[in-house]
């Protein structure tokens, strides 16, 4: 993964580049348009390298001073059938002259290695009307008449719908350079896109060298030639170019996806043990962590199942080293009993849940925000946990560090929520500067004074000093049974109540340290949008758009979902209406059976309604993809109309 988006290693890569001479050759007359931003999609069959092409394009755009956000287009299967509508694999890259916070609306330009995968995107409504399409033309003359007629039919359909289809002989052009063009098309396409988006070819050659840095020099050289061939083909055949103005970088930026950010957050937090079990879309965080963790004295333990992963982490935490377990929804469900034990026994633990579509196996590769309620209320009995949600890639990094600090300070479980759209999206943010403050202080292992209980709860805060094995005088048996201050099993009503009270008080003690988030937009107005997690970029872009039109809309994005900071109620009072925007299920009042009595609200709306007695509306979408700013804007406009 580390080869995807880097220029830190560019100096080294530069030495591997063939030549840095500008290319010469035919040039068609070009119409150059300066644009604020562009959305490009590159789709292929699985294994044809469209993802790598998209990632390289995004890297180039970022390195040359553009804001970027990428969205992976992933089929659910490892090897879906070739040329199938549902099997498209690739990447969406949104590039702009300003920081980009989400994947945007419809694509301005699409590159497709066959017409079927493109059709999949078109039918999903992912292409802008009139979208420019660069389409592999080899299928037109395919020997199999079924394929060629499929191609012709689709081509005609696309043209009839008004798309600007440009046929590209990718295979034929690549064959001039390599014997297996299927493995080289992606870099040829990267060359075309470099030409269209006037990206620096020197940087592009470096990027190719980085992308194939682990391979031998011949592979790098071949791919650079493919890149150059693509550039030259576009130079001679494509009559348009776009220029996206650049931003000037004032500080170093890093670019990676949310799962890499989580893995780096685990490293930076000083945690030493990560116990996990493979589950999409969380696993890539553990993949990357496995690659880097041991170098710094950490261990990734792939447990035999999700429950073992959680309990292994609990054991490690109990023995003195706060541990983390990384999972997704189904795994989170399996861990619930173990999380209850950690709550009951007051063992620090960090749990990362990279949410996916549910329930059950649901949509493993698709994003959803469906686990908020189970994160807060999950496990049986009263099991208060801290729940925080990352809303940007940068958040993914810092949230883990924060989680570990809270877990150790309050001897509690901290759940970090991410989701499938953050997991694979890439966005630049300021390079973190390590601070020793990120690491939790060493545990006080001085001898425990006689008469001190293992749960000597402070009457005000519910906090207690934790003793770990090896510590003289602190011997006790920790238990998931109700227990007294000495950790002795206690069935008496008073002890049970005292335990519940103290574990709950800790949440209040933490809550007193939280600052209310800032309102995005004016502090008062007609409509307040509340949200959490990965929808932040889309919500704020929609709000900004409406505000530019003079609408009195603001938004409030929550990082702490449990406990929530004080002040949210006051903010909501300053707006005529509050609506939550989330990527989870809520009933629509447009459905015949649904009324105010039986309507099931979205998670955050339900929480806020219960907490603040405010009549909060909700708008949600569960369309297996990140919520788009344009769709949010339309929903908010409709809500505003109802107000007036």
């Amino acid at each position: 993964m580390s080869e995807l988006l880097t220029n830190g290693a560019a100096t080294a890569a530069r030495d591997n580049v063939l030549d840095l001479e500008p290319l010469t050759g035919d040039r068609v007359k070009k119409r150059v348009t300066v644009v604020d931003e562009q959305i490009v999609e590159i789709v292929s069959d699985s294994g044809e390298g469209a993802q790598r092409c998209g990632q390289a394009l995004a890297a180039l755009a970022a390195r040359s001073g553009r804001g970027i956000w990428t969205v992976e287009i992933i089929p659910a299967e490892i090897q879906p059938p070739a040329r199938s509508i549902a099997g498209g694999s690739g990447n969406r890259v949104r590039m702009g002259s300003h920081p980009i916070t989400n994947g945007g609306d419809e694509a301005d330009l699409a590159v497709a290695f066959n017409e079927q995968v493109l059709l999949g995107r078109e039918r999903e409504g992912e292409l802008k009307p009139g979208c420019r399409i660069l389409l592999e033309s080899m299928w037109r003359t395919d020997r199999n008449p079924a394929i060629s007629s499929q191609y012709l039919q689709t081509y005609d359909e696309l043209v009839a719908k008004g798309y600007n289809v440009i046929e590209v002989p990718m295979e034929a052009e690549c064959r001039k350079l390599v014997s297996d063009p299927r493995r080289g098309k992606n870099m040829f396409v990267l060359g075309i896109l470099c030409n269209i988006y006037t990206l620096d070819l020197v940087l592009a050659r470096e990027q190719v060298a980085l992308t194939f840095g682990k391979k031998d020099q011949r592979v790098i050289d071949t791919n650079i030639r493919l890149l150059e061939a693509g550039w030259s083909w576009a130079e001679a055949n494509v009559d348009f170019q776009f220029e996206i103005p650049t931003m000037r970088l004032t500080e170093p930026q890093v670019v990676f996806n949310g799962n890499i950010a989580i893995a780096l957050g685990v490293l930076a937090s000083g945690m030493e043990i990560c116990a996990m079990y493979p589950i999409t879309p969380a696993t890539s965080a553990s993949h990357y962590l496995s690659e880097i963790f041991e170098k710094t004295g950490g261990i990734v333990h792939q447990a035999e199942d999700e429950i073992a992963a959680a309990t292994f982490a609990i054991g490690a935490s109990y023995a003195g080293k706060c541990a983390v377990t990384i999972t997704s929804g189904p795994g989170y469900s399996l861990k619930q009993e173990a999380l209850g034990l950690a709550v009951m026994a007051e063992i620090p633990l960090v749990v990362v849940n990279v949410q996916r579509g549910g329930p059950s196996t649901g949509q493993p590769t698709k994003p959803e925000q469906g686990d908020l309620m189970t994160s807060i209320f999950g496990s049986h009995g009263d099991a208060p946990k801290v729940v925080i949600a990352a809303s940007t890639i940068e958040d993914c990094f810092y949230s883990v560090i924060t989680a570990r600090k809270i877990a150790e300070t309050f001897n509690c479980v901290v759940v970090v929520l991410s989701d499938g759209s953050l997991a694979t999206a890439q966005q630049p943010f300021p390079r973190p500067t390590f601070s020793e403050d990120w690491l939790a202080p060493p545990i006080d292992q001085s001898p425990v004074p006689t008469g001190t209980g293992a749960y000597d709860w402070d009457g005000t805060t519910g906090l207690m000093r934790r003793f770990i094995p090896g510590q003289p005088g602190g011997m006790h048996t920790l238990t998931g049974l109700a227990h007294d201050r000495a950790s002795k099993v206690a069935y008496d009503p008073a002890s049970n109540e005292a335990g519940l009270r103290n574990r709950s008080l800790k949440m209040a003690a933490l809550q007193k340290t939280l600052r209310c988030p800032d309102v995005h937009g004016d502090p008062d107005g007609d409509l307040l949008v509340v949200g959490w997690g990965s929808t932040r970029g889309a919500i704020e872009e929609a709000v900004d758009g409406l505000r530019a039109d003079g609408k009195r809309v603001s938004s409030l994005h929550l990082r702490f979902l449990n406990p929530m900071p004080s002040g949210i109620g006051d903010i909501m009072k300053r707006f005529k209406k509050v609506i939550s925007v989330e990527s989870n299920w809520s009933d629509s009042l447009d459905d015949e059976l649904i009324d105010e009595e039986n309507r099931r609200y979205s998670a955050l709306a339900m929480l806020l309604r219960a907490k603040y007695l405010v009549d909060i509306d909700c708008w949600t979408e569960v369309r297996s993809r990140p919520i788009k700013p344009g769709v949010v804007r339309a929903a908010l406009s409709a809500a505003l109309e109802k107000l007036s």
Binding site: L199, F256, L264, A308, T477
Partner: protein
Amino acid sequence: MSISFDPTPSFAQCLLGPTDEHHELDEYQTGVPRWCNGCGDNGILSAMQRLCRDYDLSPERTVFVSGIGCSSRLPHYMKTYGFHGLHGRALPIAEGIKMSRPDLPVFVSTGDGDCLSIGAGHWMHAIRYNMDMTVLLHDNSIYGLTKKQVSPTSPIGTKSNTTPKGSYLEAFNPLQTALGIEGVSFIAQMVDWVPEMLYDILQAAYRHRGFSFVRIIQRCPEFMPGFFDPYMNDPERIQLLTHPNGLTPSGNMSKVYRNQLVHDPSNLDRAREIASSADPIPVGILYQNPDVPRLEVIRGAGRVRTPETVQQGLDSELDKFTIWPDTEPALVEA
């Protein structure tokens, strides 16, 4: 009777070294066990307390882990660190502790339901991991704490609250399963009613570096009354596995338990054959291989984690992803 060690007595060994510890039995005892009269768990507890004393285990550096069930109450009666966890999950908890603190001796108490039913998946993998811990399977062939339900090791026909007409399946044999798992390093079996030999087996298990699994056939007078009486009354139905590298019974024991079989614990194939016997009950060390790699050693070797290593690790990773401001955007001439 003793397990064959390699004691080379000298005067130096008679003196406490500057860091040596000496402990009395009561330093490991706490609370009054809440097990029933005649419950085999009492004997196992006494043996463990004695073992801790005889090996001068520092109470603050010793951890007893358990799951849920009658057996799993054991940590509450040890004045060491204890972790009374979740039903079936004692082993992964113990693994986390061992990975985190390989310097601490770890003991696990688990029952037949805990280990072989709800926690069976963990058990198999724990054998594979071969982390250094002593695991006692308190096997009374019945669920006790939940009041008499059939367990995986209940013999066919066992009448219980969930099998009022008698259980339907043959008993599960944990020794055979354990001996079939790659990575197995120590398997022993003992009965709770012979304290002398129980203690010897627990010593051998403790001294083994790796995952020492001891199945202790244990009486439950409440729900399986008289179930093991035939074995207690007829010593011929107990078969001692003897070997210089295994159990070496004392003269007294040999007088009582005459059914003896010389078995070399390094012989895995023979161990599997012996394990298949339910009657007579083979007791002793079935298998021991001191050379199986241990996961905590494999994974923990040379690990150093300081703020400096964290910072260096983070910075070198971030370098790979960094765009530095001096990388000037250079647009290709349009």
